[in-house]
């Protein structure tokens, strides 16, 4: 099994962080968030139930996903708690994004995709024949790897979703635009140029615009597919802060290649791996501190300490 991984991963990105540095970062980052000006999250932590007691938002049982004949995900069973940032980590090609995109049925757009097993959101089967996919995608928003603002103004980017779902009143739309941009920490930067094209903003601003746009349809869950991989470190930090803050209100599921990022922002971590038949499996799922300090599985430890390369 390890052979398969090392082959597939040769030449891919390598994380050579030692387990000690990661833990040190984890602790340091928690300190730094307390001292930063966005101290609000830390204060609110006490409002929340401990992770283990939070209700389950997304869950899968023995879920497998096929692209035609090829089985891309195998027997995934996971229960993701509400109002929590959960990170999915793992080597390239192990199916992290595929799993993420099956929660809002984005994979439906690819011909030949088939899902077996159960996938539920708060107990409702999301692959049921009767499910209205547009409503599901409204409840489960998504932020993509590359910022992809729609080719329209900043204002219209935010208003697009609410308009699709029947909000026509201008004052109401104005209110939504301001609230979502504020929530996404972008309002102050763009409030004087709402008519400007969304793609004229910087990469980091565009990604925050995409987050604001997602918030505008009032989702319960936000899926993020490597949201910082196209951004510079400063923008990455902004987005990470934002993720933590939003994690108090929304269920956030984030795929990341950056293990420090997973350690910094998430409370729960899922580690995925690719088996010899190239099917993605969930190796281990648990509180982030446990995954990074006392992983139960050898493969998890190998990946986290960078022994895959």
């Amino acid at each position: 099994m390890t052979k398969g991984i090392s082959e597939s991963h040769a030449g891919g990105e390598t994380q050579r962080t030692s387990i000690m540095t990661t833990v040190a970062n984890l602790e340091a980052s928690q300190d730094s968030y307390e001292s930063s000006d966005t101290a609000a999250p830390t204060e609110r932590v006490s409002d929340r139930l401990p992770v283990a007691e939070r209700p389950i938002s997304l869950s899968t049982r023995n879920m497998s996903l096929y692209y035609g004949e090829f089985r891309a995900l195998k027997d995934i069973s996971v229960e993701i708690p509400e109002r929590t940032v959960t990170a999915i980590i793992g080597a390239s090609g192990c199916g992290k994004s595929t799993l993420l995109r099956s929660f809002n049925r984005m994979n439906d757009l690819i011909p030949g995709v088939r899902v077996e097993g159960t996938m539920e959101m708060s107990g409702v089967p999301i692959y049921d024949r009767r499910v209205d996919v547009t409503e599901l995608r409204r409840a489960v928003g998504m932020v993509f790897q590359r910022p992809n603002p729609l080719p329209m103004s900043i204002y219209e980017n935010i208003a697009y979703g609410p308009r699709r779902h029947g909000v026509r009143n201008r004052a109401e739309l104005d209110e939504i635009v301001e609230r979502c941009l504020t929530q996404a920490a972008l309002w102050d930067e763009v409030k004087d140029k709402l008519k400007q094209q969304g793609n004229e903003l910087s990469g980091g601003q565009q990604q925050r615009l995409c987050i604001a746009r997602t918030l505008a349809v009032e989702p319960d869950v936000i899926l993020m597919d490597e949201p910082c991989s196209a951004l510079d470190p400063a923008s990455t930090l902004r987005i990470e802060e934002l993720m933590q803050e939003l994690g108090h209100e929304y269920t956030i599921l984030v795929v990341t290649h950056n293990m420090q990022q997973a350690a910094r922002v998430s409370e729960m971590t899922a580690f995925m791996n690719m088996e010899e038949d190239r099917a993605g499996v969930l190796v281990e799922f648990g509180p982030t501190t446990e995954i990074f300090t006392t992983p139960k599985e050898k493969t998890t430890e190998d990946y986290i300490t960078g022994r895959f390369s």
Partner: protein, 350 residues
């Protein structure tokens, strides 16, 4: 010459590749032995490098020049032909405008060059052309756009792979076939069910059939423009809960708008220049009208008529065809320039 060094270089690459694949520790050892070896002698000697760099083969350079000239020649043929056509048109038209003033030509409403009194007002011909082209584009623009939306956003891949070539076959049917189709099938059909007293040669049936003829041009270019819209934009809209129709109309169509407009303009200039279909089905009666049931004559059909008749060279009538052709050329050129401007002006950055 120089082959030894190159071979050596390649083998080093292979060596590195090998050791790299074996994992970090093996990689390190490989690198170590390599560095040792390369410290003992200069990696590249000056003489060898000079030989390699300065002795480029003459023959190779000669071939390059020949290919360059061949390609340039091919390009020059089309440019030279265009310039030649423009020269002939302008030159012959100049003689026409010695007999008839430009003002009379462009503003006159009666075109009777072959009767007495001879009047050379081109507007009836322009009107005929515009009428047929308008009917054609009213058919081709919506049908072509919907076809393109269906093919790019709705149809499964396999369906598209079958249907698109079939549409392109439609574009390959000779226009004379379309002409007789309009004359012997569409016109009787219209007479039977909609306009019983319509005459046999009319603008309507020519325009409708011409519309069908240019659907493939419009739909094919429109679909190309739509497929060029990045998937990330569609995903953005789908992720916000947009339906397929909303994605097609609110995201893909605006993003592809410049390409769509270009496709329509290209279809329109094709309609303006089309000759055989209108010669056969639209009639030979220059008439300033907007009633599509009437018999009319387009600019192109007039040129055919005079070109095939026994028109003595050097007469005013003979020169009319160059003046009409020049005007036609200016019209299609204007359409193409407009199209290019639209593409630039409306191109949406995504």
């Amino acid at each position: 010459m120089g082959g030894y060094e190159r071979g050596n270089f390649n083998s080093r690459l292979i060596l590195m590749g090998h050791s790299y694949a074996r994992g970090p520790s093996a990689n390190w050892e490989g690198l170590h032995s390599l560095t040792e070896a390369s410290f003992t002698a200069p990696r590249v000697s000056r003489e060898d490098l000079e030989k390699r760099l300065l002795s480029g083969s003459r023959a190779e350079r000669g071939t390059e020049t020949a290919i360059h000239l061949l390609l340039l020649g091919a390009t020059v043929i089309s440019i030279a032909t265009t310039l030649g056509i423009v020269f002939v048109l302008v030159n012959e038209s100049f003689r026409f405008f010695q007999d008839v003033s430009i003002i009379e030509f462009l503003t006159g409403t009666v075109w009777t060059p072959r009767f007495q009194p001879s009047l050379f007002g081109v507007l009836p011909l322009v009107a005929g052309t515009v009428l047929v082209a308008t009917i054609a584009i009213l058919v081709a623009a919506p049908v072509g756009l919907f076809t393109a939306i269906f093919l790019s956003e709705y149809a499964p891949d396999r369906f598209r792979r079958i249907v698109k070539p079939m549409l392109e076959i439609l574009a390959g049917i000779p226009t004379v076939v379309y002409g007789y189709f309009a004359l012997t099938f569409v016109t009787p059909l219209l007479q039977q069910y909609i306009f019983p007293d319509m005459i046999i040669f009319n603008a309507l049936s020519a325009g409708l059939v011409m519309g069908v003829m240019i659907i493939p041009i419009v739909s094919s270019l429109t679909e190309d423009a739509m497929l060029a819209v990045p998937r990330s934009l569609r995903e953005a809209a789908y992720a916000l809960g947009a339906t397929r129709f909303e994605v097609a109309t609110r995201v893909v169509t605006p993003a592809a708008l410049s390409g769509i407009v270009a496709a329509i303009i290209l279809g329109l200039s094709r309609a303006i220049g089309e000759t055989m279909l209108v010669t056969i089905a639209a009639g030979a009666t220059p008439r300033l009208t907007i009633d599509p049931r009437e018999s009319i004559q387009t600019m192109t059909a007039y040129i055919v008529q005079v070109g095939f008749g026994e028109t003595p060279q050097g007469t005013t009538i003979y020169y009319t065809i160059f003046a009409v052709a020049l005007l036609l050329f200016v019209m299609t050129l204007a359409m193409n320039i407009l199209g290019q401007w639209v593409v630039r002006r409306w191109r949406q950055a995504y």
